[in-house]
Amino acid sequence: MHSFNASMIKEIGKYFIFLGNLFINRETFKTYYKLILDECLSIGLGSLFLVALVSTFMGAVTTVQTAYNMVSDFIPNYVISQVVREMIVLELAPTIIAVIYAGKVGSSMAGGLGTMRITEQIDALEVMGINSISYLVLPKIVASILMYPLLVIIAGVCGMLGGYLAGTLTGIITPNDYVYGLRSSYNEFTVIFALIKSVVFAFLVASISSYRGYYTQGGALEVGVSTTQAVTTSVIAVLIADYLLAQLLLAK
């Protein structure tokens, strides 16, 4: 137990040193500008289809399940879409999509950097006098922070659209009731809260996955191990941050 704690503290320390290295000995803005654009395209466009698909089905399922649990005739139907809105905006869009984001984007970041490490491409950058952490990882983190909130917004819209389709096509709720429910008792802070969460999750997934990939040691098998560790650690970090943010920003 003692050695586990020691290695855990060592790992956290190494992670923070890694983050500190992002900001030293940087290259020119022009160099980063192009790299960030490339990463934005890869992260944003590459994840769009999966995010839209998952969130649409999440919204549809949430609608059906909420309707199933509403057994009292005293509760108006538009409450279904109110519940769907709150669930999607507060939790499903930022957090569940973050888990999927860690699986797709985080694993790709870790795998890419791990392969660069074992094929000495990172060493090649270092020998050229380029700070490889800053050059390779900073654009990934910046692009992730820029793109993930947009993906969350798209996920929110798709989720509510999925709920609308499932609710109206199956006759659970009328279109007017659904839209009325979405608009009633709306608290805009929930959207701000979702965006704050998305920025934090984007940073955690990108930085943790990059950290795992960057320090890969060994061969192809170890790249696989780093990729798995990247996803596992990112998801754990996202869930802990999710709880802490809810406690900090929503607790009364």
Partner: protein, 251 residues
């Protein structure tokens, strides 16, 4: 000129390098030779700063690398070019982009100046028509040559080659060796080559350091290597059947 003093490195309990010292001269290839697992590549990585030695000093034309501040280290590193064992080419970039990479990131040259320099370097290594090829589309020997072109594109003062002949046929090996020798002489730069290939040793070994069990046990050149009188070196040199038969014929 590069000078190393008392380089020592351990990994855990295992002592890999023990008090290795030596001088690597300008304008010719300096070879570090030895059997597999003797610490040659670790020594090279200590020299270029990829692995920090437990103690010891590395001087680049008088500049103490490990005692320097971050800016001086970066300055020294930008004077280095390195050919890695596997080439270490960026696999998502074309040959041309790989060679141009140091110029893109480290210089403010115009695009036409960069292309002129890239084409010059590719021509220098005999790859005039490979600009648009991806690393996955070229052979091992070509990858090494692209690696050399990338290493020299930013006009380095120091060139490092880690096992430049590994995995290559004898003919291509000779070409790579000659290329390294010509570049070292033409550009008048300090070149360090890590190898265990006896063809390279006999071909371009104007200055040789023999590492045995992490220690520098002999320094000389390819003319002296066959009669060094050092048993460990004789065992290494004459393990090669061709060298051994030459010795027997001479005897």
């Amino acid at each position: 000129m590069i000078e190393i003093r008392n380089i020592t490195k351990s990994f855990g309990d295992k002592l890999v390098l023990s008090e290795v010292s030596g001088v690597f001269e300008k304008g010719k290839p300096n070879l570090i030779i030895g059997a597999s697992g003797t610490g040659k590549s670790v020594l090279l990585k200590c020299i270029v700063g990829l692995i920090k030695p437990d103690h010891g000093q590395v001087f680049y034309d008088g500049r103490d690398f490990y005692e320097s501040d971050r800016d001086t280290k970066t300055e020294v590193r930008r004077e280095m070019g390195m050919l890695f064992q596997g080439g270490a080419l960026f696999d998502s970039k074309t040959v041309e982009e790989n060679v141009r990479f140091p110029l893109d990131v480290l210089t403010r040259m115009s695009r036409s100046e960069k292309m002129e320099r890239v084409n010059f370097c590719l021509k220098r290594v005999g790859l005039e028509n490979a600009n648009k090829k991806m690393p996955s589309e070229i052979s091992g020997g070509m990858k090494k040559r692209v690696g050399i072109a990338r290493a020299i594109v930013n006009k380095p003062n120091y060139l490092f080659c880690d096992e430049p002949n590994s995995g290559l046929d004898p003919q291509t090996s000779i070409l790579i060796d000659e290329l390294i020798q010509d570049i070292s002489e033409d550009l008048d730069i300090t070149t360090i080559v890590v190898t265990h290939d006896m063809n390279s040793v006999m071909g371009i070994g104007e200055k040789i350091m023999f590492i045995y069990k992490g220690q520098n046990v002999w320094v000389g050149n390819n003319k002296d290597i066959t009669h060094s009188g050092v048993k460990e070196l004789d065992d290494f040199v004459f393990a090669n059947k061709v060298m051994n038969s030459l010795r027997e014929n001479n005897a």
